[in-house]
Point group: C2
Chain length 408, copies 2
């Protein structure tokens, strides 16, 4: 299937080399794609790792194993297969992952548990052992590739390669974070919902890296949705090689920890937004800003009810300031809300306040805002101080075309 | 907007006159529709009433008042406005409902609380008092109309009028149930999710009528979904005029109570299916049959996760036996499930059993089943005896066209 590049696509950023990180790509031929589909990233010894994994009960062997491996805290390599998720493939799927881990561990002379594997694509077809073996072998011997090549190689229905950059100063050392991500359908919050990889030369203790990654997740990956569907393979991994030479970060009190956490949060938000920008069929990037909820968590749930509502998403696609559908979505969220204190607006213009449409509401600036490709929905519940921002995209004919015609 | 008649439409049944029930229609002109949009149904004195209402927090005044009125147990009239839901309209919306109640009560010489009002259509525009008054006035003087006319008059984006019939024998009396319903978008379970009205000549005590209606709801209206969106106005009312002359039913032990409950359940299921058959953009009617869950309620939640998944619904639209998406939806439901005991099939043909795709799976009968307009998805969780059946429709370009272009 030939997909047009998303109109919301962002150019690939100029990502620098991260000391201790070497990406390579190869072609395993999982699909008839005529392009590389296997990404291999070699990591310096003693690289710290942290991870987020799908909570989908029917997760892949890659996710099951990865969840265990992260507990070890150290990584030497990452392998990403694109075109086959290897999920719901029973013991044969697990065998394929273990083969890849063994093959790479043997070459690097490391523990198998330090080799992380992810796969994305069709569900229910075991990853073919021979193609995986040949692909990994080719990747191990391939020259170093660019970040953009790696980002393109992990993609499936993605229409553009996605990367992000952040920096932080720890003591007198500037550390760099570079990241790539794939994802555009089967995207729902509640966890990391895609394949995303963050690489930094900072020195960070694994447990603290995990704490910071989990905290960033709450306000980034857990706040996006394309279609309310949660993949069986979703994974975000953060790797810290320590090659920048800073004093290793081990706790929130360490000098520079705040700066690094802020940079990690920033790069996670960039990645999350990029996934929404490549949401299947997306023509508009939608920010849902909820205030006045009884708690932040309640605000997030209300925001997601709005962001997951097909009627709200189609209204935005139609550039229709249909605030009644926003009211409906608030009301069905199952969270505390009071019709008589509820206010709804678009792009900073209130349309209804305290449960009543504004009598002097001027449709012109709202209509203009909705014609743009970046739309904001404002909701004030008028109950408390809870707030959250959630991101999604509109629901268009493109989503139907991609998913009714494409056998993923 | 001109909508094509749903390809899943059912012909309107031959509904008989129900003793003590007189429907009439008129044109209030809430929209530029050039057709009647106000339905008035007069009920014999002492008619028992029971009701189900949306749990959407941002419900309309009609729903708020109706919930109170049902406690009185008696009804003399029903007024349904189409084209304006009068939801989220504050005190002005409530004023309009109270005006209609007073106007009808005065004519009938009954209590205002015995006049039930529903409205459906655009959210956020107060029902115009003058149009409502003139419309009600015309309806009060209109001749009796057919059930089909009444069913057509309560519709909005519906593409065909929907009615259902059931009969039961109580003692030596045959009682009749006739019902009409509207709904095709903003349809989600968890309550009555549309406007539906059931009329019977049976004599039933209000409290027992409510018990039976609530029980029927659990396995009918609460088991359908079109788009996971829950309307602010949903209402189902059952009216029992008692004119059939049976010994009044007051408890499950009464002779004939089982037969009547079965007929009520049957007519509710018919109505629920009709709404799905008119689901916005629907081309296929989908039954999701879940077995082997830890409980019936758990099975229902898993069924709804499947039925609400845009990826499953688009796969069915594309006639793709994409059982991987079914697995994904099972896994995200948040209910107990075990990948290694999970089986998935279509139309009675298993595609995967106990967590592994069947090696000898023959795609031919499954593909043939999916080409039909009635599709069944079978899921066996392999954990317990819990089971549920849920109904939905596919997600097509038609849904996007209706909702991105139509300002409801």
């Amino acid at each position: 299937m030939d997909l047009d590049r998303s109109p919301l696509a962002a150019p690939f950023p100029d990502l620098p080399k991260i000391a201790g990180v070497t990406p390579r790509v190869a072609r395993a031929g999982y699909k008839d794609w005529g392009r590389c589909d296997l990404t291999y990233v070699e990591l310096a010894e003693n690289t710290a790792v942290a991870g987020l994994f799908t909570r989908n009960v029917c997760c892949s062997s890659e996710v099951e194993l990865g969840r265990e491996q992260v507990r070890g805290g150290r990584a030497r390599a990452l392998v990403v297969n694109a075109g086959n998720s290897n999920a719901f493939t029973g013991y044969r799927g697990r065998e394929a992952v273990e083969q890849i881990m063994a093959q790479v561990a043997k070459r690097l002379g490391c523990d198998r548990g330090e080799v992380f594997v992810s796969s994305t694509g069709v569900i229910g077809v075991p990853l073919p052992l021979d193609k995986a073996r040949a692909g990994v072998s080719a990747a191990l011997d391939a020259p170093e590739c660019s970040w953009e090549e790696a980002a393109a190689t992990i993609g499936t229905t993605d229409t553009f390669p996605k990367g992000a950059l952040a920096r932080a100063v720890i003591g007198d050392t500037t550390v760099t974070l570079a990241a790539i991500i794939k994802g555009s359908g089967m995207i729902a919050p509640d966890m990391a919902t895609m394949l995303g990889y963050i690489f930094t030369d900072a020195a960070v203790e694994p447990a603290f890296l995990q704490d910071m990654l989990s905290a960033a997740n709450e306000r980034t990956f857990s706040c996006i949705t394309v279609d309310s569907d949660t993949s069986t393979s979703d994974t975000v991994l953060a790797f810290a090689t320590g090659r920048a030479g800073n004093a290793p970060l081990a706790s929130p009190d360490a000098p520079g920890a705040d700066a690094f956490a802020a940079a990690l949060h920033d790069i996670c938000r960039q990645l999350a937004h990029l996934v929404v920008r490549d949401g299947e069929g997306a023509r508009k990037f939608i920010e849902v800003a909820v205030t006045g909820a009884v708690s932040d968590e309640s605000a997030r749930k209300v925001g997601l009810a709005i962001a997951n509502s097909p009627l709200v998403k189609t209204a935005i696609a139609g550039e229709d300031a249909n605030w009644g559908r926003v009211v409906m979505a608030v009301g069905k969220a199952g969270e505390p809300a009071d019709r008589d204190t509820l206010s709804v607006g678009f792009g900073g213009h209130w349309v209804a306040r305290d449960g009543v449409p504004l009598p002097d509401y001027d449709e012109t600036p709202v209509a203009e805002h909705l014609r743009g490709s970046e739309v904001r929905i404002d909701v004030d519940l008028g109950l408390g101080d809870g707030r959250a921002t959630v991101w999604t995209c509109d629901l268009t004919h493109g989503y139907i075309a991609i998913n009714a015609d494409y056998r993923s």
